[in-house]
Subunit: 195 residues, 2 copies
């Protein structure tokens, strides 16, 4: 029996079209009119489903922030070494970038367009994630699993090292998502490891 | 005797002010008027020194491209292993980012605003640098010095891993440029190394 697939809601369809437009034209240059055209609706009907561009940006940013924080909570509650926990989170970063490229693009670059109070709320979630990641790095250094590197340098270097993937990876090309993931994990985990 | 310092030309002063404006406001949002105000000139006098915003962007982009290509030629002509050569180039990347942050910012992000034929010329220089870096990585893998990773993945991961520095590093804060450089080099070179 074929797996049951849930039909997408109109709101989901609009959000996916918006993500593609934000990626191709940038958030600022995308109008509600562009979005209405992309989903074959009149602008007036679009407003039945979505109140503004910023509502969509907010959804993308906060969905992604919670995806990473959920991953963090799962990792924090599991048994295992700092090495295993960090590797597990890096795989989440890489899979998100190869599997949902457009959303990550909007998440990496476009959150700066959020207005207050959303901007501060979003930055607090981002900061929370980074602090907890930093704690894992410090734990790994204290346990002698990771090289002694200034933790904030290790954090930024690692996060930044994956920030090209969403823009580069295309399914069906020479390398599979799994191959890309394994290569990046091998480089980053070896770069962190003490021995 | 104090070292002789060369007096900056008006053109250099204008270029440095432009780099700061491009960093703070972005290239698109910076007007010739903003630039004239920043260097205390009337807009009409500014045009005696510089013909357009794009002339400045062109100078920044091509100066940086040649800086990296000169570094590459020096490294290619020196004796030494692939490991030594790659490390030497990574140090050039890091020093450029910590020593001339604003220029690198413009170089990393703003070159997309160049118009033709400059855009194609610039992209060819960039591509040339990347191809030669890729050749060094492959040589290091063939010589058994580097892990066997898809070379293009290693290249993008390494280049991307340093792309936060220009935005983060501030001289006179907790960490010196030398400390930051050593930590990043230790992570990246260990991540590449076979053993």
């Amino acid at each position: 029996m074929a797996p049951k697939t849930k039909k997408k809601t109109k709101k989901q369809i609009i959000q996916e079209a918006a993500v593609r437009l934000f990626r191709d034209k940038g958030y600022s240059a995308t109008s509600m009119r562009d979005l209405a055209d992309a989903v074959n609706l009149k602008a007036s009907s679009l407003y039945n489903h979505i109140s503004s561009k910023e509502e969509i940006l907010k959804n993308i940013c906060f969905e992604n922030a919670h995806r990473f924080l959920d991953g963090m909570k799962e990792v924090e509650s599991m048994p295992g070494t700092a090495t295993e926990k960090v590797e597990s989170l890096l795989r989440l970063h890489i899979r998100t970038a190869t599997g949902d490229a457009a959303s990550v693009m909007a998440f990496n670059d476009e959150w700066r367009h959020l207005t207050e109070p959303l901007l501060s709320e979003f930055m607090a979630l981002r900061k929370d994630y980074e602090s907890r990641f930093l704690a894992l790095l410090k734990a790994g250094m204290q346990a002698g699993q990771f090289q002694n590197i200034e933790p904030i340098i290790a954090l930024h270097t690692i996060f930044s090292s994956m920030r090209w993937l969403y823009d580069w990876f295309q399914p069906g090309k020479k390398l599979t998502a799994e191959e890309v993931e394994e290569d990046i994990i091998r480089m980053l985990m070896k770069g962190l490891a003490k021995t």
